[in-house]
Amino acid sequence: MDSIYWPSFFFFFFGILACVFAVGVLVSRNIVRMAFYLVLSLAATSGLFFLAGAEFVGAMQLMIYVGGTMVLLVFGVMLTSQERFVDMKTWAGDWVKAFLAGGALLFVLIYAAFSVPAWRGIERAEAEALPVAQTATPLGMGLVGARVDKLDPAVEAPRDGMSGYLLPFEIVSVHLLVVLVGAAYLARAKRKITARIE
């Protein structure tokens, strides 16, 4: 019996945590609890990111998602949380329909995941021999247009695979700005509309 391979152990730890809290979000009927479970699930996912060697993305996950987005969500929860919305009941029929469809989807996805032999993982010795790469710098360089991770002499055409993400980066920046302005506009306080639109 080999000794425990700790990355695998932590994968299962974080993976089960993420799944359990995701299911918690699903089955919980109280909106505040749902938000809380979502935070935990997202945080556990960032652990999975670290384990897969994506430490920068993991950190971003913690900061933007768990920090930023969740604060936003909780803010929304608080704004709209009145007694009658905190706990809204769903029809039994909807549950069953959703579970039938979701179960089929889950089956299809997992079936597909395990039907590719190359995805089953690598040998332990091979995994232990792999170097630990730092990804923050290459990511930053990739975003400003230089792919330092692809400076590989094996690639013959110099531009093949070398394109960076400068343009998408710029688009996303502008997009974020637009979104912030738009969100502020949408959510601004309005005069009360007395006649309900029916």
Binding site: W91, G93, D94, K97, A98, A101, G102, V108
Partner: protein, 819 residues
């Protein structure tokens, strides 16, 4: 003891004893009744004792035949490690004859000298055949009363007689209403009173005796003609028993329906028998020696000859016959380029024979499309339902498929598998919505029979027959339990029940054992479980093995798995609705009581069998699988390929026990059964989801299932109504034909012009335009309905679309890679 001498004697006696009881009751009660006298009710009980005593005697004789004669002379071989046996057998190829441990040594007496290890295909099982009495001989046609006894026959004798005697004992308690003048609460006479009639206690037992006798006759029969005679006897007995309360309209129609639907199937069976007889010239199954000392080959050895390595090949006479009937259908053997294994000469006749025989089984075993009679058959008293649904009537069909197995070509097996697959799915879905406790069980029977047929069709002979035996025990248990409940609350409707666990604990917990057995409860991948666990897992293993060999027929792999989930759901729905929760009808609940000992006794005995019939007797290798392995039909232990459909592969059954099929099959079976059980628990025990809300949101689906897929209405419209209209029309023609010729001629002219006007001007011209307009309008309205504006529904549409896309791509890819 010489089994060749004692087995026919013992089993023959076990078979005839119920007939004797039938005759005694007939002479004692029916003859005086015909003479206008009636036996007193006190002596009525005597008839029940005679019938019960006779069937108990049958049990004793059958078990003696099994344990005293068969097993000592044919020691069982542990067949759980087939792979090892296979290898071992290859290793000791030459000196296999000296070893008595290989299952392939179970050869018929005349091929004893044959070295078993020489080929992978199995020789005929050990059997004893012969005839007791020759009825008549017309040229080649010989009708005789004979026997064909192998391990399957002996096993079926034990099972049938045991269950029949449990039912007899149970009926002695259940039918006590018939011991005095009986007022039928369900029959109202024209003057508004309830029907009063003398009790018919003795007659019930008379029929039961005849029923047991007929079923045992089917099992022991040594030739097709005898099978057919007893087959019909079983049919007529079921007619009598289903129509026992003949005054009730529902009972008499149900009896008629059962009988007529069976006739449809029997017609096919006659065709199959004729096809076999006209080409092979014999009815007998086994080989025999005639009075001149010549060897007469039976059906099996003509179709699977020793020279041909026991592979199925149409006999020469069959090829001739097909050429004679259809000269143009001569097989491709005539053309030089066709390879030898695609020789289709005689295959079509073989297909007709096989499908024909199977048609009979479709009728008897209530397979789609002739499944409609079985759920109505519960109009009979509950003990009869138990007997019909487990050991006799429906078992006869599955048994016959098992008996005729060497005759079926891979194409026929494919037909059987698809029919079984459709049946198991349709019946299981209908059982979800039924609220009549017996109707749920009836549909579960149909579904389980579908399982057996599916297993047989996929090449899993032992799996199918094993499920037949385990199912017989747990289904008779379930029916007798439901009878006990009905006896207590005087209602069939599960919405009147609930909470009965406290009032009738024995019934509740024996029924729980039955439910766990039918869903195949057990520890996955282990050898610990209820009886259904072994047989159902064997079927699913075979389905996985078949599915991996035939990617085109992948649906046959997943149908039993899905069926397992549905089975678990409706069985526990039944149990929870009946025994758990709060009483729904306080009045009925207060009057409920546990049944008398004579009824609970059989329940406990059957529960013990339902739990343990799949187990191996400790310290021995005695279990049902090993026994059935002894009876494996000739030449079925080999992966066979279709001839008419060359890419069809029927895998060797022993391969299904390899880990690569066993592990996923075990996990799938356990997972689906557990999820069905969980869903039933969520809805009916924990009440987390409200069943009425579910009914509301699945209204169209619920209606569809509630009305049993509209099968009865469909048959009514397609067959019954046209027949009635046609016959009414004919009758009118007969009555008025002569008078109306002249009137008719005149009216015809006038009518003709009107018809032209109606048909052409109004219908065709106007109709076309209107239809288009209306069609467009309706289509638009229908499309509008999809746009519900509900966010959550749109999400579901996306999910369903994704899954469907995936499934479609998989299927297309499967076909592209397969072809």
């Amino acid at each position: 003891m010489d089994p060749a001498h004692y087995l026919p004697l013992l089993l023959g006696a076990a078979w005839l004893v119920p007939l004797v009881s039938f005759v005694i009751i007939w002479v004692g009660y029916s003859l005086p009744q015909m003479a206008g006298k009636r036996a007193s009710y006190r002596t009525s009980k005597l008839g029940a004792y005679v019938a019960t005593g006779s069937i108990v005697l049958s049990v004793v004789l059958s078990f003696f035949a099994m344990f005293g004669v068969w097993l000592p002379s044919n020691p069982l071989v542990d067949a759980t490690h087939h792979g090892e046996v296979l290898e071992e057998q290859h290793a000791e190829d030459g000196h296999a004859a000296a070893q008595a441990s290989s299952p392939f040594k179970m050869v018929a007496a005349e091929s004893e000298s044959h070295a078993a290890g020489e080929h992978a295909n199995n020789p005929p099982p050990k059997y004893y055949s012969g005839e007791w009495y020759n009825l008549c001989t017309f040229g080649k046609l010989k009708l005789s009363i004979g026997y064909y006894i192998d391990a399957l026959t002996v096993g079926m004798f034990c099972m049938v007689s045991l269950i029949a005697s449990c039912v007899h004992f149970y009926a002695m308690g259940y039918m006590h209403d018939e011991l005095h003048d009986f007022t039928d609460p369900e029959v109202t006479l024209s003057n508004g009173e309830q029907l009063k009639r003398p009790g018919r206690y003795h007659r019930f037992f008379q029929y039961l005796s005849l029923f047991s006798f007929s079923m045992l006759g089917v099992v022991i029969a040594g030739n097709m003609a005898m099978v057919f005679v007893f087959w019909e006897l079983v049919g007529i007995c079921s007619y009598f028993l289903i129509g026992f309360y003949i005054e009730r309209h529902s009972a008499s129609t149900a009896a008629n329906k059962a009988f007529i639907v069976n006739r449809v199937g029997d017609f096919g069976m006659l065709i199959g028998m004729m096809a076999l007889w006209s080409s092979l010239g014999t009815f007998t199954f086994g080989d025999a020696t005639d009075e001149h000392g010549n060897e007469v080959k039976g059906v099996f050895s003509q179709l699977r000859t020793e020279q041909n390595d026991y592979q199925l090949a149409p006999a020469d006479s069959m090829v001739e016959e097909q050429t004679r009937i259809a000269p143009h259908s001569v097989g491709e053997s005539a053309s030089a380029d066709g390879p030898a294994e695609y020789n289709t000469a005689g295959q079509w006749l073989l297909l007709i024979a096989g499908v024909g025989i199977f048609c009979g089984c479709v009728g008897k075993s209530a397979q789609f499309p002739l499944h409609v009679w079985l759920p109505d058959a519960m109009e009979g008293p509950t003990p009869v339902s138990a007997l019909v649904h487990s050991a006799t009537m429906v078992a006869a069909g599955v048994y016959l498929v098992g008996r005729f197995y060497p005759v079926f070509s891979p194409e026929v097996l494919l037909v059987i598998a698809y029919i079984g697959c459709i049946t198991l799915f349709i019946a299981a879905t209908i059982a979800i919505t039924a609220v009549d406790i017996k109707r749920v069980l009836a549909y579960s029977t149909v579904s389980q029979l579908g399982y057996m047929m599916l297993a047989l069709g996929l090449g899993g002979w032992v799996a199918g027959m094993f499920h037949l035996i385990t199912h017989a025990f747990f289904k008779s248990l379930l029916f007798l339990c439901s009878g006990s409940v009905i006896h207590a609350v005087h209602s069939n409707d599960m919405t009147d029940m609930g909470g009965l666990r406290k009032k009738m604990p024995i019934t509740a917990y024996t029924m729980l054992a039955g439910c766990l057995a039918i869903i195949g409860a057990g520890i996955p991948l282990s050898t610990i479980g209820f009886s259904g666990y072994y047989s159902k897992d064997a079927i699913i293993e075979q389905a996985f093995s078949f599915g991996s060999a035939n990617p085109k027929h992948i649906i046959l792999q997943w149908a039993p798995v899905v069926g397992a989930a549905i089975t678990a759901f409706y069985m526990f729905r039944l149990w929870y609705m009946t025994f758990a929760g709060k009483p729904r009808d306080q009045h009925r609940y207060d009057h409920a009581h546990e049944s008398p000992r004579v009824m609970t006794g059989p329940l406990v005995l059957l529960a013990v069998f339902a739990i343990g019939v799949g187990w191996t007797l400790p310290g021995t290798n005695l279990n049902v699988t090993n026994l059935l392995e002894q009876a494996r039909p000739v030449g079925t232990l080999e992966t066979t390929h279709g001839t008419l459909l060359p890419d069809l592969v029927v895998p060797n059954e022993h391969e299904s026990h390899l880990d690569k099929f066993r592990v996923p099959a075990g996990i799938a079976a356990f997972g689906t059964a557990a999820s069905g059980l969980l869903l039933a628990t969520i809805i009916y025990l924990w009440n987390l989801l409200n069943p009425d809300e579910l009914k509301q949101s699945f209204r169209p689906l619920h209606n569809w299932l509630w009305n049993k897929w509209w099968f009865d209405e469909l048959y009514d419209y397609v067959f019954v109504k046209p027949t009635l209209v046609l016959s009414g029309w004919m009758a009118k023609c007969d009555l008025k034909f002569i008078d109306s010729i002249l009137h008719g001629a005149a009216a015809l002219c006038r009518g003709g012009s009107q018809v032209v006007d109606k048909l052409f001007d109004q219908t065709m011209v106007d109709g076309t335009v209107n239809t288009f307009a209306r069609g467009t309008w309706d289509f638009g309205l229908w499309l509008r309905k999809i746009q519900t504006g509900r966010l959550r529904q749109y999400v579901l549409f996306i999910v369903v679309g994704t899954v469907l896309l995936f499934v479609a791509i998989t299927f297309v890819q499967g076909y592209l890679t397969a072809s």
